[in-house]
Subunit: 198 residues, 4 copies
DNA sequence: GATGAATGAGAATTCATTCAT
DNA sequence: TATGAATGAATTCTCATTCAT
């Protein structure tokens, strides 16, 4: 009988160690040796769990994007504008941890971003979120919650960009918590006024 | 007698060649060899103009941020909300080209982003823009153009993030021109309603 | 109580799997993992039967050379030239399978061929065959079957080289069966004429 | 002006150093580091001249096969049997140096030998030589030098295999010069008798 | 005996930078 | 100034072998 190992746990340990190193030194500056050391395993073992550095960063990315999708996408359509705004607000507030990952993502995939194959995945992610918001806006119009003149589709897409921009700036520029929460309130206020009927 | 060379012109050629390669292959995948070839000079010559790859990307970055600052920052304070909105709109429409540079920036500096010394420069850039908008909002409040309850400083900062997010998504996800211009209109509308007095 | 296993059978399974992989991917490209997988045993088990990859290939080689020796070496001295030629002919025709092993042998032992200790084994093999033929030639001379001027020893050795060359080319270059059998006839004819008394 | 270097000379130095190491330690055991050291250049420089270890061994192989072709292929058709035999004899005697390369070739390309693309090159080489001999045999038949019943094509091909076998055994088994030269004579004698009219 | 997870020495290759001409 | 050959540190990935269970 071989050593009994919780493979998922090991993967998590590695991902954790890798993430810490990536955050500290950047993706390119972090070597597989470092990650192995940080995880307290041999380099060969590392490759047992992730076939390459690419696979490793891709796995981490996938996890983060899943989480992002989960955070940005309400489970069901909101019936009132306030509900939706509340949801957006939470999305904006939640992501301390995740927002720090964004620069790593760009560093790792920067050179592939132009590759359509690759980018499509992420375009789809935001399009999906945009689509959801667009549908929700239609419902909110029916519910008399939002001005009927709204271009549901395009506004939803621009809203997603704005949200992403805010999260991104937070991650990059380490905006302090206090100031950031007011910024979020301000953003929500503008969205409310911009969307409300009359 | 030294050869007579327009140093600045040469630098521009190099920057241009480098930028094209960075856009095409990413920062890390682009080698100094490639850049030299593309510029039609020898590798040694390249190093006469830019002491290192780091210096080169930093120079390019500086240029781009200067341009960005120029695009996003009105020359003088706007006296009406509509003027300001017009300005923002133009900023959003102008920057097709520049937005493509952002991933390169992230890729190149990703590993240094944690370095506060480094990041401060870029944080400052956006803070500066934010500061300008904040001041302008104060003027617009005085001019009775904007609701007096606005948190000028924080809103200015979040506005900058949103603008950046929109530009970025355009650059990344190649949103089609038609759709994008409507998105811009939508964004402006929301800003207008969100800022207007009652 | 230990599991009851037919050790020899297991060894044969492993050798078989290894050989298939070696033939398909070459010796160096074939990993111990692959061999274990192909044999449907765990890698650790593989090492219970063969202490190392070297031991494994050596075992296989030994088997093949034994077989080769068997094929090339008549059981007893031939009393007529025709008998000997018949024997050579059969040797040339039999060895389709074995000739494919030769490149593997070279690939595996290439780096050790200079080691005299190692090479001696295989040199001896051919010398042994050569020696047998030499002895047989002496008998055939006595029997008035072969011209008495023959340098029995050297000719025997060159004959072995030629036979080996023919087998080898067949294995390597996949000479078609039809053509090959004529080639064999041609070779035998030349040997006959070259050896016959006047 | 950069350093002035005779590139071809450098390539030759590298090939020489590589060949020495390959002969001494085998292809796989020889590292690019070793070759660089042996050539007294840095590893990076080595890669300036040969893009990979594969390219290096391929270049060496090509050189050797060219030489082999040159050695085995008469410049023009021989008009008498003795001329042809003389030619074959020389081919067999020349190749002290080259024959040592054969095991290296097998070690390096062993795993690709089954690949039809690869093997075709070498099959063609020997087929070419075979074709030449076949044509020459036809001429020799017309010239009344060789028995007219000879299967020119198949015999030519088997002759090539035999020659290759002899050269190969010499390279592998380090047959001593004295003995080898007698073996060559023996082989030539057999060929003469086997081919001669009556 | 059997398993397969863990190990880590090694190897090939890259590329920013230097430097002799 | 300009050149491009030379450098060698650094990095990813492989795989035979070991070993805890």
């Amino acid at each position: 009988m071989p050593k009994i190992v919780d493979k998922e746990l090991m993967k998590k340990s590695i991902i954790n160690a890798a993430l810490q190193s990536f955050l500290k030194y950047g993706f390119n500056k972090t070597t597989m040796d470092q990650i192995a050391n940080e995880t307290n395993i041999a380099k060969g073992t590392l490759y047992l769990y992730f076939k390459s550095k690419d696979v490793l960063i891709s796995s981490i990315t996938e996890l983060h994007f899943k989480k992002l999708l989960n955070d940005l996408l309400p489970k069901e359509y909101c019936q009132t504008l306030e509900q939706l705004l509340e949801y957006i607000k939470n999305a904006l507030l939640i992501n301390e941890e995740d927002s720090k990952f964004i620069p790593i993502f760009f560093e790792a995939f920067g050179s592939k971003l132009s590759s359509d194959v690759f980018m499509k995945d992420y375009k789809n992610l935001f399009d999906k979120i945009g689509y959801f918001y667009a549908q929700n806006f239609k419902i909110l119009i029916q519910n008399n919650q939002v001005k009927p003149t709204l271009n549901t589709e395009t506004f939803a897409r621009v809203l997603v960009s704005m949200i992403d921009g805010i999260i991104l700036h937070k991650g990059f520029f380490k905006i302090e918590e206090r100031k950031y929460s007011i910024m979020v309130e301000d953003a929500i206020d503008v969205f409310r006024l911009g969307l409300s009927k009359v």
